[in-house]
Amino acid sequence: MTVLSNRLSRWTLPIFGCALVNFVAAQGLILAGVTWPARSVSAPGTLAAVHLLVIGWLLLLMLGALFQFVPVITARPLVSQSLALATLIALEAGLVGMVGGFFAIGAGHPALAMALPAGGAVVSLGVLIGCWNIGIPLLRSRPLSLPGRMVLTGMAFLLLTVTLGFSFALAVTVPALAPYLAPLLAGVSDHALAGLGGWFTLTAMGASYKLLPMFMLAPEERGIAGKAAHVLGTVGIALAVGAGVAREWSVAEPLRVAESMGYAAVATAVAAFLWDIVRIYRTRKRAVIEAHNRAAIAAFAFLGLGSALAVGFVMTDHPRAGAPVIVFIVVFGWLGGLGLTQLYKIVPFLTWLSRYGISLGRGVVPRVQDLVRERRSYPWFALYFLGVLLGAVFGLSGSSHGFRACLVLITLATLGLVIEYWRAWRGHYAQLLHGESSTPPFLPTHRG
């Protein structure tokens, strides 16, 4: 029997590798003191680091995961494995242009600053290719399950985020367009909400709804809480972003009310989702859960913390004062934390598929669990989340030195986890068990 391996996303592991490099590079910029809180939130270094984080780390991570995850929830293959590579190349190349463009603006080089919209255009192309690759199997699988609907909704917000971001890039670099697009620049928070809330968070919620029950043997039926999280999250973010953008041109009171209602709906959606996550953990049949699911609890807690802080700052009429810390908590604690914890399962699983899958039934093969040493991961996860928590405290107090000291903890923990991913991919621990010596291919060995 010939093994059909079109269920294995062949570019996901290289995409994860690039994402981790970008994550560490962004941490390097923060440690170098060229970003908030040492500089303003609109400083070129801050903008460069933020885009390294959200495009270079989180977007690549999410798309890489979806290239593997969407065929699981739709039971249909991607449009093309090659398009996943095209996405990776476009996002990386575009990101280099964007980061260079931000620093060129800071250095006062208008000509070089054109790298920002040029890079943004290439990133947009990469996003379109990626959305096409995962959107087609999703659309062909209707009626979709809740995770699929959440991913599809998230993709719509991704396209909105990219459109807003590209408009910003044109507004700051093309003088002829500035009169038309400049008002949009006041809506950076809408761009961030559409991206971090609409795209990343809704999609991560959908992925969690599929993967957590699967890994922990819990009931998959989500009921009213799951639907509420999806509907309220979608409507809330659409309302808040729509009204927020419209308010850049009009000060009408109904727009302010609509924006507030949107934020309230988002907070309610987060509460419903977290309540449902607690239910998944409590109703699981698997008594002893694996490290990635244990550590993910901290990421869910940071989602709750970020949402609670946002509500608190809005209710005290100081939403902009807390925005940088809330973004830090969401990017590092919730999304970054969830990403790092789930990589601890996905990397060995993909390694197993590419290295040992072919040997199943022909001899002794290790389990996915044999590719990791869970007890080695716990100190790194603890250090990472401790660093994020303390970083949020120092960020709120405005202590740049304290915040950067926490980044040292976060960077050490990230590097420690990267080593563990590397060992899993190399089969380091499996070699100790089975005395093997070969290394699996990092890059695809045959066409899909």
Binding site: K285, A287, W352
Partner: protein, 105 residues
């Protein structure tokens, strides 16, 4: 070596304990993934499922079942049918597997 000893239903089932679901790290027989198994002459016919539709390891598990069957003395062919009706659930595990995962029902 007696080449007739393995070619019965129990012998094939016993051999399939060597095939694992890589994610759960446990053999597919005790997980309850084998729904039907018939041995007719030198042909083994199996109807089985996966823990979830679209499982990334599906093709490897099906291949593993086929290869393990074909490796048995006296087996000329193996026909593997995949179904998701009924959907798999942890209730289908054997008591041994449930004990392994700490499932108390």
């Amino acid at each position: 070596m007696n080449t007739a000893i393995c070619l019965d239903r129990d012998g094939v089932l016993q051999a399939l304990h060597d095939v694992i679901d890589p994610e759960l790290g446990y053999n597919i027989v005790d997980l309850g993934l084998i729904y039907e198994l018939q041995v007719d002459g030198g042909v083994v016919e199996i109807t089985m499922t996966m823990t979830t539709p679209g499982c990334p390891a599906q093709d490897y598990i099906l291949s593993g079942v086929y290869e393990r069957c074909k490796s048995l003395p006296g087996v000329n062919d193996a026909k593997i049918h995949l179904t998701f009706l009924p959907a798999w659930s942890p209730r289908l595990m054997t008591p041994v597997a449930k004990a392994h995962f700490g499932i108390h029902e």
